[in-house]
Assembly symmetry: C2
Homo-oligomer: 195 residues x 2
């Protein structure tokens, strides 16, 4: 075959430049409130800056409380349906560590502004984090038209059986407010089958 | 904060160079057998070339039968737990089309050498393909130690309810042989929590 006609065989995953002015790589984030406040603020700024959907995530080292990586939804701007807040944060954390898993003796935790969709729930399992903290609920996302896919109570049970602590509904109202703002400001509700 | 200390904020997703000598971007793949043979051969070559885990996928346009993109598992070499065969193929197909969904009037189909894990099953839904054909089973992957995550009968039902035709077990033996070869040749069984 002719190589000249081969399509480009790469995809680049990035977060927007504005992220750097929002995060603190040096100082620890002392508690769950500080950590989730960052995840939700990432979701809010992603809407305001029009750089993706209303979802943000942040991954921390549990021993030091230091930020390892952040992610925001990049589906529309990067033409990539797999780039939810959680998957982007996981990819960037693993790049930073040059490791295929975030598992460690003391553990890592993922804070997300909304409960993970089916894809991201699986990605959390493969990431090696041992704590997942969620703000908005799947119902909050569905209320503005986002599909969450096949996520069941047994799905969360599976993660817990694998040793992952799961916290849901923490600071839910603040996260839900961002989702509702996105919808009321005319944000695109993208699902795979209606594109 | 000091920008100099900010970690790299990108991840690059690629397939190995050898892929180009295996695929045909010009000629259609006439039937399911030709399409799945490619997906399985991608999985086999990925083991032989030691460029990732024993999983391959290919996405086709259903009207023209032409190849849109391929993917192989890249978890270990690219330090990225989200890069399974299916997600890589989906990302590259969307990059090629410069679109966040593969949905089209005539449809696209994803052939995968093994039933998708929980993450990839969700990713298939968001990709916009309307046909999923699987060779090896989740049980085949579990038999050599791979975790498949929370995938249930209702998960497949959810995809079918969303309009995705699902075929499972097509050319299963050929795909299972690659999984078994990977295990018997000492391939790393990577799961998130044992990294």
């Amino acid at each position: 075959m002719n190589n000249w006609s081969a399509p480009a065989q790469q995809a680049l995953v990035t977060v927007p430049d504005w992220v750097q002015s929002l995060v603190n790589w040096q100082q620890p984030y002392p508690d769950d409130t500080a950590k989730m406040t960052l995840a939700i603020e990432l979701s809010r700024q992603n809407v305001l800056k029009k750089t993706g959907g209303p979802f943000g995530s942040a991954i921390f080292d549990r021993a030091s409380n230091q930020l390892l990586a952040v992610g925001v939804n990049r589906v529309l701007p990067l033409h990539n349906s797999t780039l939810h807040g959680e998957t982007v944060a996981i990819m960037l954390a693993e790049q930073r560590l040059a490791a295929f898993t975030l598992a460690s003796d003391t553990g890592r935790e993922l804070f997300t502004s909304c409960e993970p969709c089916a894809m991201c729930l699986g990605a959390v399992l493969w990431s090696g984090v041992n704590r997942l903290v969620c703000a908005g609920t799947a119902a909050d996302a569905r209320a503005i038209g986002f599909d969450e896919g096949p996520v069941f109570n047994q799905s969360y049970q599976y993660l817990q059986n694998a040793g992952i602590e799961v916290v849901r509904g923490f600071m839910q109202n603040q996260a839900k407010a961002v989702l509702d703002f996105y919808a009321s400001s005319g944000g695109t509700i993208y699902n795979g089958r209606n594109g």
